[in-house]
Amino acid sequence: MAKTVEIRWHGRGGQGAKTASLLLAEVAFNAGNFVQGFPEYGPERMGAPITAYNRISNEKIRVHSNIYEPDYVVVVDETLLGSVDVTAGLKSSGAIIVNTEKLPAEIQGHLSGYMGKICTIDARKVSLETLGKYFPNTPMLGAVVKVSGVMEEEKFLNDMKKSFAHKFATKPEVIEGNIKAIEMSMKEVNGI
């Protein structure tokens, strides 16, 4: 029987939600899974709300539709909470992971009565401390792996090291910061 985890990402154009979904697909693939990582395309510009998706499964994935009943939702920008129905269709057995400095209880009121697990991570703080700049996607990737348990943490970290070494071959100085960002966000995510 297929065990498929479905994840929906909400972000703003330019924040790297699409890149994060493709990165998650890559690491899940490296861990031996069948994967899909795809954005929903429209006339996006910097700052416009965007959606991206992941399917991770132990069997070949054939469905080519968007995801309407995700197991996990990742919100890369908390200002979306007021304008996008981020918990639409989200399974109560799953979880929502929001990038915010607030605690889960403080944002519950903005999630249209969602009764499942709420996790928060201050990706801005993590990013500034480890990378010196605001790139929320790497910390969010760490948080979603931690919360969803879609792959073994140690294996994930090793894969990310390899992946970053390849991706940032021309600027090795950022590899360590990105790994630290993932480790830190896995430690600091609230509400697990």
Binding site: Y41, R62, H64, S65, N66, Y68
Partner: protein, 393 residues
């Protein structure tokens, strides 16, 4: 040994192109196919291919450059989508009638208006009568496999026709999925070199191409071109057989999914076939006898084979991801229905126009189509033949 990889549909096509290492690649960018020449130009810049990359000023020029270079004797590829294919339209006919086996990666996208960048098949369906062989792909694996096979099909001496390899824009072109790749040397061996009998740069036997043709000869040329398209059927199966030996993956004119005892069947093209398979498995668990024909080869059209595959089904829904504006159904419907005319039992048939301009198709949407077919079977009344799926009334 197969190489396990995760790539987007566009990356998979660019990689197939790199492995084949064409002589010339003229291209002009258009969403969602832009990434293909973009990735490929990086291979050129990195010295990984020997290809002459030609930056042209339009798609009309891209196809014109393809025609010139293929006629000269060079294996030539390009990529395009939507309005880009539309702008090539005049030259598509020149390529096919000059019998030049150019290979084009076409990433399906709606044609304007209103302006839309997402998937449907109005672009390549519009070019269905241009004389090109058309192969369609459900997913990234098929896009990759089809492109490699396309080169050998088109260049076969009994065929000598251009081939377009189609996949759904964004849905597969921009989605990262698992696939299995062949090693570079295996692909090179499979596709070999382009060795036309006659080409412009052959000083041993000078030729001229693209002459004016009078009414006295034009029709004989068209009849000969039609023969080449008929010959393509045999060659498509031969190439599929050779490819199966390499990969274990099975390709034909179409894929039959759970058709052995199906009462209700869909006929569909490209990515939605995967979603439909999911719906079929779900409904089969509920005891419903449902199946699917996924068209891979639309040109040449597998007329007799379609009839054989569908003749024992009770009700069929043909799914068109484009309008034909005939006010009587889309292009796939018309051809499948025509193929069924001579079948003894003549199944009930309806047409659904679906997924236009990227309208998403869910497993549940496909289930409603099958349920509609069961209503037809129970009531023994077809009702409206030409229908729309998931449109707001």
């Amino acid at each position: 040994m197969a190489i396990r990889e995760s790539l987007s549909g566009n990356e998979a096509i660019a990689l197939a192109m790199k492995q084949i290492n064409p002589d010339v690649l003229p291209a002009f960018p258009i969403t969602p196919s832009t990434e293909i020449p973009q990735y490929f130009s990086q291979y050129v810049a990195d010295g990984l291919v020997d290809t002459e990359f030609v930056t042209v000023e339009s798609e009309h020029s891209a196809m014109s450059a393809c025609i010139g270079s293929q006629a000269a004797g060079a294996r030539t590829f390009t990529a395009t989508s939507s309005c880009g294919l539309a702008l090539m339209f005049e030259m598509l006919y020149v390529a096919a009638s000059s019998r030049l086996p150019i290979t084009i990666a076409c990433v399906n996208r709606a044609l304007t208006g209103p302006i839309n960048i997402n998937a449907d098949h109005s672009d390549t369906m519009g070019a269905r009568d241009s004389g090109w062989i058309q192969l369609y792909s459900e997913n990234n694996q098929e896009a990759y496999d089809n492109f490699i096979q396309a080169v050998r099909i088109g260049e076969h001496k009994d065929v000598m026709l251009p081939v377009m390899v189609c996949q759904d824009g964004f849905i597969t072109s921009h989605a990262v999925e698992n696939l299995e790749l062949l090693e570079d040397e295996v692909v090179k061996k499979f596709t070999g070199e382009y060795e036309p009998e006659d080409f412009l740069l052959n000083v041993q036997r000078p030729i001229a191409v693209g002459p004016y043709d009078t009414a006295n000869f034009y029709m004989e040329h068209k009849r000969q071109q039609a023969e080449a398209m008929s010959n393509a059927k045999k060659v498509i199966l031969e190439v599929a057989e050779a490819y199966k030996k390499l990969t274990g993956r099975n390709y034909g004119f179409f894929e039959e999914y759970r058709m052995e005892d199906a009462e209700a069947a869909l006929v569909i093209i490209n990515s939605t076939a995967g979603t439909a398979k999911e719906a079929i498995d779900k409904m089969r668990m509920e005891g419903k006898k449902v199946g699917l024909i996924k068209i891979r080869v639309f040109r040449p059209f597998p007329f007799d084979e379609i009839k054989s595959a569908l003749q024992n089904v009770t009700a069929i829904a043909v799914m068109d991801r484009c309008e034909g504006f005939s006010a009587a159904g889309g292009p796939l419907f018309v051809e499948v229905r025509s193929a069924m005319y001579d079948s003894l039992k003549r199944p009930s048939m309806v047409n659904y126009i679906y997924g236009l301009g990227g309208r998403d198709v869910r497993v549940e949407d496909i289930e409603t189509v099958y349920n509609d077919l069961f209503k037809i079977i129970e009531s023994e009344a077809v009702g409206q033949i030409y229908r729309y799926l998931s449109v707001r009334e």
